[in-house]
Amino acid sequence: MKTHTSWLAGASLLALAASSTGIAQAQEVEGARKYGDIRTVTQRMPNAAAGDGNNFLHTNHNYRQTRFYPNAQINTANVHRLRPAWIFQTDVKETMETTPIVVNGVMYVTTAFNHVYALDARTGEQLWHYKHKLGPITVYCCGPNNRGVAAYGDMVYMGTLDAKLVALDAKTGKLVWETQIADPELGYSETMAPIAVDGKILIGTNGGEYGVRGFVKAFDAKTGKLVWTFYTIPENSVGVWATHDFAGRDLKRDIAAEKEALAKLGDPYKTLGGGVWQPPAVDLERRRIYFVVGNPSPDLDGSLRPGDNLYTDSLVAVELDTGKYVCHFQYIPHDVWDLDAVSPPILVDVRDKDGKLVPGVLHGGKIGHLFVHKRDDCSLIRFSEAMIPQEDMWTLPTKEGARMLPGANGGVEWSPKAVNEKLGLVYVMNLHQPMTYHVESTPYPGGKLWLGGAFKVIPTEEQWGVLSAVDYHTGKIRWELEAERPLVGGVLATAGGLVFFGEGNGRFNAVDAATGAVLWSFRAGAGLNAPPASYTVDDQQYIVVAAGGNTQLDYKRGNNIIAFSLAD
């Protein structure tokens, strides 16, 4: 039994501290009337999630993060009959990036500012509501988002803006334990959904805009005790002084000046950023996890952080059981544009350069390419055609502002991708938002926003989005669908031959997975910028999505969870 320590207790709390039931009174929980049909999530369930046509157990559906739902009841032939089955309105009208999780007919959704709701997935009726009591200090980039819970055992788990991991009783919503993951006053926060595997809860951290030292941590699911930590920034972050990117383009680095800075400043690893914004993919067979690491701090100013800045802007694999490093691939050494890696990686078999099918990893980067890796050693097999315009790469930021495309939001932002392995296609959300990159060197500000300059959207230039279907065996774009506004939110593919995605203007679409033909649309009335999910209860398949708008792109806010099913 541990005691509740509040922020008022001072910096000592900042060491990781798990606390437990004493805090329950400090939180707000409503309801919790109906829970007869909730069952424990045993390890067998997520292990088999990829083939589970009833539940949606993981924010990206399964450990391989394919976001492919294997039920075909809603399909290309009947999707025109899709209608809202129910709408649930949360208490929080702010940005929504949550993926609903569904376990045996019970749905768990989160909102901005860390509310969790349990709903009857058949009707949308509220079962309970948990409101996390946020501490007064939260420091985070890009909106008070939350991307969902992990469900495991008899509990659901959420990371919070004040950098805690909370475990709730799945039946009642009552707090069972909470753990302080890191110090929010230093710029750490949590918006990603944790994942649960083999008795551990895995979670990364935000903070690449605040000079944190990024990590992925594993906590004991039952107690909240720390099991292992992998720092995304090694103590030697220098690397190989790479002068060109993966495509052979000159990064325009001044290596001599960087070496001089290294001699003077030392290794910048303690404040080098490297957040992990999205859940790792889990390879149970290899006992490894694969995740992508975000940008270095400060974003635009490389002068204070000499070297390649390992493992920022990288795909990284570590051992599931120990957190020990296995391999990495860095996309942009010494990034000074914040064109990092955030969209969750996907594990599928891919054709290598000789046409042989090998275990692979897919990742879509802000730079606008889909990357295909060999799972064994993280090496790059191929990258796709550019999915959005790239111009004047790699123009260095200037004090007055230098234009280069893509702008700092991508390309592919945090939006999860989806795959249809039969078609060999991955569906990738992209945005085109031209910006100028401004640099000005300032020292580490101690947990405050530390961009080393500024990003500015060019108001006179057109912005738009594109959904790209990329053949990951070849890197060619099979089809693409342009959207009137930049796309952020995520994609769902289903066995019904469909791909679902939302837009900032509130439109929710179902398209033909093979051709991109739009087969169905619905206007939600607020920005639809969250990843869709699907589930089946009482032989009825539903598609569900949050319509809450988006802070980062300033899309109209809302507070709806909308479930769709086929009309009779």
Binding site: W7, E94, G143, E440, A454, I458, T551, Q552, D554
Partner: protein, 211 residues
């Protein structure tokens, strides 16, 4: 002891016309109401409660600042106010009077003061924007992605301040101070505001103050 020294500094500052006396914006109300008459002040330890009348002398007894460059602090987010007090204490933000007032306060005491002011209601200042400010300001804010931190309706949260309805003259002063780096406790704001003209800053301030 703390009170005596701070009071002395405060009085000298007023007498010398230091930042306090730039321009009165409030009415001629009593500057320093007795501590005991301030709602909620009894929740503070006595030595902090004694500081509150001094705060209100500039920031306004009813939340309406008495001076053009004093911000609204009633109802401002606790996290933001705490960070500013912390920065006054460690010198990252410079202001002769504020630096002196907080210099011997502990982290805990700064937190308590911030929490006290956060609980007070935000005042209505009834400020007006000029014609065309709204269109210009929204374009400027969109380019700078202001809402990404200050959120929808510019209400802020936690360590990010509420801008909506803040005293326009303070917004002008502090945004210009960010631009010139006279206010140096948020480099990202300095870098961003460096890309705006003074006239654009003024329009933004008028727009935000009128929200």
């Amino acid at each position: 002891m703390l009170m005596k020294r701070v009071s002395l500094v405060f009085m000298i500052a007023c007498a010398l016309g230091l930042p306090l006396a730039i321009q009165r914006v409030g009415g001629g109300a009593e500057l320093r109401p007795p501590a005991a008459e301030i709602p909620g002040v009894d929740e503070l330890p006595p030595h902090l409660a004694e500081l509150v009348p001094m705060c209100l002398a500039c920031h306004g007894e009813n939340g309406v600042p008495n001076y053009a460059e004093s911000p609204v602090i009633d109802g401002q987010h606790e996290g933001y106010t705490y960070i500013q007090l912390r920065d006054y204490k460690n010198g990252a933000r410079k202001h002769e009077v504020m630096n002196e007032i907080v210099k011997d306060l502990s982290r805990q005491e700064l937190r308590e003061l911030a929490a006290f002011f956060a609980k007070r209601p935000w005042p209505r200042l009834e400020q007006q924007a000029e014609e065309g400010d709204d269109i210009l300001a929204e374009r400027l804010a969109s380019a700078g992605m202001c809402k990404e931190c200050h959120l929808d309706d510019y209400m802020g949260e936690s360590t990010v301040p509420r801008l909506a309805g803040q005293l326009t003259s303070y917004l002008v002063a502090t945004m210009r101070a960010f631009k010139t780096k006279e206010r140096a406790n948020n480099a990202a704001m300095s870098n961003l505001l460096d890309t705006y003209t003074d006239e654009e800053i003024d329009a933004l301030a008028r727009y935000l103050g009128a929200l």
